[in-house]
Subunit: 107 residues, 2 copies
C-alpha cells in the first residue's frame, strides 16, 4: 500500500489524523470509546470522567469526528459515539515496523 516515502500531500493528510491524537484528553476519549468496540458510548458518560468542562469535551469530540476517527449519532436527547476502525487502522499501519521494512525493501 504505502511502499514509497510519503508525498507532500500524503504527509499532510496523515498529519491531520495524528494531530487529532496529539492531545491527552482526546486519546483518553478515544480509548474510552474504543473500549466498547462495536457498541456506542453516550457523551454524558464521557463528560463525567474528565475534569474539563462539557464544552471542552464536546470540542475534542468534534476534532476526533472531523478527523474521521469516530462517528456520532443522536438518538433522543443523547448523542452516542463509536469508533471508526478503518481510520485507526490506516494510521496504525503507517507506523507498523513491518510496513516500514516493506517500504525500505521497495525502495
Amino acid at each position: 500500500m504505502v511502499t514509497e516515502p510519503l508525498t507532500e500531500s500524503g504527509a499532510a493528510a496523515l498529519s491531520q489524523g495524528f494531530k487529532a491524537l496529539s492531545d491527552p484528553v482526546r486519546l483518553r476519549l478515544l480509548s474510552l470509546i474504543a473500549a466498547r468496540a462495536g457498541d456506542e458510548v453516550c457523551v454524558c458518560e464521557l463528560t463525567d470522567t474528565f475534569t474539563q468542562s462539557g464544552p471542552t469535551i464536546s470540542h475534542h469530540l468534534k476534532v476526533l469526528r472531523d478527523a474521521g476517527l469516530v462517528s456520532s449519532e443522536r438518538r433522543g436527547s443523547w448523542v452516542y459515539y463509536r469508533i471508526v476502525p478503518a481510520a485507526l487502522g490506516t494510521l496504525s499501519q503507517v507506523l507498523d515496523p513491518s510496513t516500514l521494512a516493506a517500504r525500505a525493501a521497495g525502495q
Copy 2:
C-alpha cells in the same frame, strides 16, 4: 500489554509521541529516514528535500529525537539520523484494530 482504557499519565505519554507525528514536515522526515531502515541518513540529504530553512529542519529533527522516534550520531562533520523501531511500534500498536478488540474483550 495495553488491555485497559488509557490512564491519565499513560495518555499524556502517548500523546507526546503522536504530537511529534502531527506535522507534515516531521512525517516526511520520518518517512525519509525510515526508507533506509537499519541504515542512516545524513541531515544534508534531508535539508535538500524541503523548502523550509535549515534551522527549521533541525528543529523538527529535535522534536522527533526528543520523542524518542529517531536517534542521531555525529561522525566527522556530518550528523546521521536513524529510526528507533520500538518507539514506532508502540504507537502503532495502540491504534491497531486487533489491540483495540483485545482491549474491549479485556474490559
